[in-house]
Amino acid sequence: MILAAYFFACICGQESDGQGTGVHKHWDYIVIGGGPAGLQLGHFLKKSNRDYVIMERNGIPGSFFATYPRHDMLISINKRHTGKTNTEFNLRHDWNSLLSDDPSLSFTRYSKDFFPHRKVMVDYLRDYQQKLGLSVRFNTEISNIRRDANAEFAMEDQHNNTYSCRYLILATGLWKPNTPDFVGSEYVEGYEEVPIDADDFEGQSVLILGRGNAAFEVADRIYGSTNLIHMMSRSRVRLSWATHYVGDLRAVNNGLLDTYQLKSLDGVLEAPIEELRVVKTEDGKLRLEFTSPDHASSSLKPDDPDFDNFALREPYDRIIRCLGWEYEPGIFNSQTKMSKGHGRKRKYPVIGHNYESVDFPGMYVAGTLSHSLDFRKSAGGFLHGFRYTVRALHRLLEWKNHQVAWPSASGLTSDLLTRIMKRINEASGIYQMFFMLGDVIILRSNRQEYTYLEEFPLHLLHQVEEQTGHPADEVIVVSLEYGANFSGAGNDIFRADRATGEPSEGHMSNFLHPVFYFYKSLPSAEDMENLFPHENLPRPDRLHHMVEDFLTNWDAPKSHILPLRRFLENIFNQDERQFFSHECFEMGMKFDHLPPFCNRFYMAGRGLDSASSLMEHIKASDMLV
């Protein structure tokens, strides 16, 4: 009876608030978090008719965007025009839309702003959930997630309803502010609470801790009112246009770099925040001191006679903390807390490249939380990237849990060149998730036929068969990559020799360009683990780099297509040239064999005639040679 009632609720597309207590409900999949990643996964689960629910703490989807960014502006680009009508290509430059089959759910229809208001995202996510009828239980605060007796996951909400599922997907994102402990941290205001009205900072001296987009966002909005702004962080500013990493400082927020370098009192400097001490002076101002952790007694104070030029010796009116977010494991009970990463990945739970927790089989991570896999490397921490990793996760689950093989297309390898050309010129998933997701082409039947898998997590290449359900031995991998020595803070990415146009120098391309790996047999798990720092995949049997292109149109007949054809020809070990009928005829009369192209088309009555308007020109040009 109870189940039936919930079933009804599900059909309506929106779970009712659990008013009663002690009700129990079970699904195959519970997704925790109704933000972009949770909804994205919900769409795929619904589309494949899976038994799922999304648990959302708040009353709306994507409630994070109801508050953040504090100064309202999203920094994911909303590029409405590319000059192309190719919907897939255009997704390469639309960073806000989630994937769906409904063209009205294109974010570009929601705002004309290149950097839209956060509220647009709230509207968009609401529509996305409603139009697609995704099953979300709002106002449901999950806690005490644990393993139950059936080795499934059990949990409860604030009304003591209990839920269980076979597979748990954590898509909560990062929402807990990172608040390091130091002496005087109580005087520091957090990004989440600091006033947004610039008038509140009139004539004040402000120190901002942090050097990310939030820090600069705050600085950008208030620096017209302040005396000065100083920014402090442990490491140097990393500009996203220098690193190709969208999580680094975006140009749209970096006005303070201007005022610093143009000697307008503002400044940026590097210092360890953990060693900071904030002291309140008698007149209510905040002064900085630094303690060396090794010598607790020795500290650097503004009045230190030995360091009378200490940069931060003037006191501040306010100190604002913009130090980012971290993963909050509070919803788990002590037995099911996923371990956290190390070093710079410490804010993420540890997962494998199949997005599954390394600690608890059946527990997965989707969206921003899965960014440990490509932190500071690719776009998996951002909507335009994780919409594809979520799809990859769903495809992995489909095979693993329901024996539905990874979606694929098959064909003759003689058609492969055109298929690859089309993919590299439009595919968005491998473009956004460069280095991470790539197309895997399985060669079959003595390399005569192929099976094409799109957007496969490349770090699972050694397991392609067990992860997708497609038997694989010989494979070609298509991946988009930046040059090894190009990006990085401090590199001059505008240097004169930054680009090459020579196909023979494809491997020296710096900008994003297609790379093709051919393996006669799949690399082993060992190969995958022992990569050199500059390698993305183990050494293949044959490698091809397609030279970078300023327009990202890799369609030049001689520079792009021809070298790729030769690469494929050498894999297939046959001449893949195309011929007109009269040429096939002549060869048929003279040779004991015909080229494969002639055999396949001409001999099957599908020869290609040379149109008179085409031939006229050829003759003329021949004479010019």
Binding site: T87, E88, F89, D415, T418, K422, N425, N491, D497, P503, S504, H507, R542, L543, H544, H545, D555, P557, K558, I561, L562, P563, R566, F567, E569, N570, N573, D575, R577, Q578, F579, F580, S581, H582, F585, E586, G588, M589, K590, F591, D592, H593, L594, P595, M603, G605, R606, G607, L608, D609, S610, A611, S612, S613, L614, H617, S621, D622, M623, V625
Partner: protein, 819 residues
């Protein structure tokens, strides 16, 4: 002049400014320095010194270091005076550095001329004295420029040299080709008696163009061979071949008294084109030991043969005709060049499978796919798409659903086959457009859909290969068009699709099923067969009285005598205008009979029907003729084709009229001769053997016997089909290998070479495997030996002596790096 010091200086200020961590920032400069150091090795032989100055350290001592452009310029000094400074961007590799510096070393010896008139004046001053070697260089600083300068350096003692960068200065010279980046001519001014002598060099009338590949070895050889007496008559000059000893190509001309004048003239013509590439050995056939000179008794006089350097084999000209062309083709000095002389009508061996040199990386980007090449070279005259309906997301559904008939071409612009077909497709549309003037049904029946622009639509309807052509008819499921990709075939398919009744215009064959009544059991089978042949053959059906009447009316012609029967009318078949059989019992059998019988009895073999005949797996008997109906064997072959005793074969003919180049080439291949004549050829695909019927006439029995003998291998075959495996023609770029090599050569540019440490430059090793090295050494030796024998000019004082007081000491003792 050559013993004068030339010094090249580059400022290093920029290097010192950067610290070690940011070494990547100066990659471009470190690359330049590597090239600079490499050049310095090569230029020592030319007495040019390369110096670098550590500017930040010695900015006080060396005034140049205070110049603003010291970071971006290379300074060149001669006798202590700066003569020029050049931007680093013009000196990007060894070739550009060496060529630029050599140009300066030889500024006087190799003047740069910009106008034709200047060249003519130059020629006039040389008249009667010296030959002029004149070069056109599209750009300065290239490899071609470099080798020209290297050769000039070695031969200034013998010839005068000059060059131009203006095509207008050379476009009057023989063999000028506008698209060439560089060219070299020998203008024989020394022969002129006076400056205006028309026989001499005025206007370059007698100029000989260098025809070899633009690389050092062949060019140096050319210069060497210019010096060798070009004609050697063995009976006058001695019984030996001087050219073989010189490693030259030899042209043997065998003459007798009658032909002497003629061949001498022709020898002159050959030299007019190929001097420097060949020597001509004149052999009088009166000579006793003719065989010593390669002569074979069966050769008719005059005869000519070419012996390539390094080969013992003589290649004779089979028929003495146009010796200049034969010599050119045999030498095959530059492949692109020989291609330009042929307009497709002369016979070239294996034109379609010319193998590429796998080691030559430049070939990777030379298009060898004829379809891609055709599309690319016609990119400026795109197909006329006026009459093609362009489908987009907006109109796709409505057009497809509402029109009676639409043919849609799904294409990708980067798919060459799609784009080549687009030309035929639009031609068909243009042809059909005329019909729409009177009948609206013909309005734009051909549509296109760009599957890159509308990728989601093509995805949805599962179009995954290109081009895909589908036919949409209102109320029907779409059909995949699987016919020929030709103008004709597309137009026919449209005509048939819109209006089947005009099929007789489209097809030469129609079939009627004649039945006693509608209820006959075979009617449904016939209908099924007709359905399968939809679009290919027009099928009709008749019952009862109508059928009987039709039958009676044509009874005399028919081979069967009863209903039901199948009747086929072949409008264009002279030998077999109609035929019939008793009705067959299954649809498949009907289809099979129709498919087999619809072909003409003695077809013209064309590119279009070859696939059909080939799959019959019978040998081909082909009459190659210019005019089939006038050929004496035409009738005979028709009889043979109908003769049930004749060997199983496809009896056919092919046209060898002037415009049928492909057929001519095929016959040339069978005859193994450039010269073709009407022939009867028996091609046995199974054995790969080809037989030529020895006569022009024959009876049915004679030809039958000959064919049987051929099939039994009882007679000799003329030629065989060539065995060819269609393997990749080039390994392409091996990036793994390239990266490995780069890693070992310079694990990182900065690892073994430190731009901040001038000493590290000493460790630089020049790239080892330059094929030009040996030639270069030989040229330099030549030059040096001449120098020894010429009076050297007095040595000037050391540059430091002539410098102003304030800088002279530092200049000499300065901390420069001498390489």
């Amino acid at each position: 002049m050559c013993l004068v010091n030339i010094e090249v200086l580059v400022g290093l200020e920029m290097l010192i400014k950067v610290n070690f961590e940011l070494v990547t920032d100066i990659t471009h400069l470190s690359v330049f320095l590597r090239e600079f150091f490499a050049s310095s090795m090569e230029m020592t032989a030319y007495n040019v010194k390369f110096l670098t100055v550590d500017c930040p350290t010695y900015s006080q001592e060396i005034s140049y270091c205070q110049r603003k452009d010291v970071e971006t310029e290379v300074f060149i000094f001669k006798d202590g005076e700066e003569i020029i400074h050049l931007g680093l961007d013009t000196m990007f590799d060894v070739s550009s550095i060496v060529s630029n510096v050599l140009q300066i070393v030889l500024l006087r010896e190799v003047p740069i001329i910009q106008k034709q008139k200047q060249r003519t004046l130059h020629e006039q001053t040389l008249a009667g004295h010296s030959d002029l070697i004149f070069s056109y260089q599209g750009a300065i600083g290239t490899y071609e420029h470099r080798i020209f300068m290297e050769v000039a350096h070695a031969y200034t003692w013998k010839y005068r040299f000059a060059l131009t960068t203006e095509a207008s200065a050379v476009n009057d010279l023989p063999g000028y080709i506008a698209s060439e980046d560089s060219a070299i001519w020998v203008i024989p001014c020394s022969k002129a008696k006076n400056p205006t002598d028309p026989e001499g060099c005025k206007g370059g009338g007698q100029a000989i163009k260098y025809k070899g590949v633009m690389s050092l070895f062949p060019l140096a050889n050319f210069m060497k061979f210019l010096d060798v007496v070009p004609i050697h008559d063995v009976s006058v000059d001695g019984l030996y071949n001087p050219y073989k000893a010189n490693n030259m190509n030899t042209v043997y001309i065998y003459y007798d008294q009658q032909s002497r004048t003629q061949v001498m003239k022709e020898a002159g013509m050959i030299l007019g084109e190929y001097r420097g590439h060949v020597g001509i050995l004149m052999v009088d056939v009166k000579l006793k030991r003719l065989s010593d000179f390669g002569y074979l008794p069966q050769w008719k006089i005059p005869a000519l043969a070419v012996q390539l350097d390094g080969s013992d084999e003589l290649k004779p000209m089979l028929e003495y005709f146009n010796p200049v062309q034969f010599v050119g083709e045999t030498l095959n000095l530059a492949k692109s060049e020989s291609a330009s002389h042929e307009s497709g009508e002369t016979w070239t061996e294996k034109p379609l499978e010319e193998d590429m040199d796998p080691d030559d990386l430049s070939n990777v980007e030379i298009q060898d796919d004829p379809v891609a090449e055709a599309v690319y070279s016609s990119r400026h005259s795109p197909p006329d798409r006026t009459h093609l309906l362009t489908l987009t997301r907006k109109n796709y559904e409505s057009e497809i659903n509402e029109r009676e008939f639409t043919m849609v071409l799904y294409f990708l612009t980067f798919d060459a086959r799609s784009m080549a077909f687009m030309y035929s497709y639009s031609e068909a549309a243009n042809a059909l457009a005329k019909l729409s003037e009177t009948d609206m049904r013909w309005k734009m029946p051909l549509a296109t859909m760009d599957c890159y622009d509308w990728t989601d639509i093509c995805d949805k309807i599962n179009v995954t290969t290109y081009p895909t052509v589908r036919i949409y008819r209102k109320g029907h499921e779409p059909i995949e068009y699987k016919g020929l990709l030709s103008t004709q075939a597309v137009a026919s398919a449209v005509r048939f699709g819109i209006h089947p009744m005009i099929m007789k215009d489209v097809s030469n064959v129609s079939v009627v099923g004649l039945f006693p009544d509608v209820t006959h059991s075979a009617v449904s089978e016939f209908r099924e067969a007709a359905k399968q042949l939809h679009g290919k053959v027009l099928c009709g059906i008749a019952f009862g009285e109508v059928a009987s009447e039709m039958f009676a009316a044509k009874a005399a012609d028919f081979e069967t005598s009863q209903l039901p029967s199948l009747v086929m009318v072949k409008r264009s078949d002279v030998f077999q205008p109609r035929l019939s059989v008793p009705m067959l019992t299954s649809a498949n059998a009907i289809v099979k009979w129709i498919s087999q019988s619809k072909m003409p009895l003695l077809p013209q073999l064309t590119a279009e029907n070859y696939p059909y005949y080939y799959q019959l797996q019978k040998p081909f008997l082909i009459l190659f003729t210019e005019d089939i109906s006038a050929h004496p064997l035409y009738k005979i072959l028709g009889d043979l084709a109908q003769d049930s005793d004749a060997p199983e074969a496809t009896y056919s003919w092919m046209s060898i009229r002037k415009e049928d180049h492909v057929n001519q080439r095929i016959l040339q291949f069978y005859l193994k001769s450039q010269k073709i004549s009407e022939s009867l050829v028996f091609v046995c695909f199974l054995s790969g053997r080809i037989f030529i019927y020895p006569e022009n006439e024959g009876t049915v029995d004679e030809i039958k016997t000959w064919m049987i003998q051929a099939l039994n291998n009882a007679i000799e075959f003329t030629s065989t089909l060539e065995f060819h495996e269609w393997k990749p023609r080039h390994p392409g770029y091996d990036f793994l290998k390239m990266m490995d090599e780069e890693a070992t050569r310079d694990p990182d540019v900065h690892d073994n070479y430190d731009p901040l440490d001038p000493d590290s430059a000493y460790e630089y090793q020049p790239r080892g495997d330059d094929p030009d090295d040996e030639t270069r050494k030989a040229l330099q030796e030549l030059r040096d030996s001449r120098l020894f024998h010429q009076k050297p000019k007095p040595l000037r004082k050391h540059p430091s002596d002539s410098r102003p007081e304030d800088s002279q000491t530092t200049w000499h003792e300065n901390p420069r790096t001498e390489l």
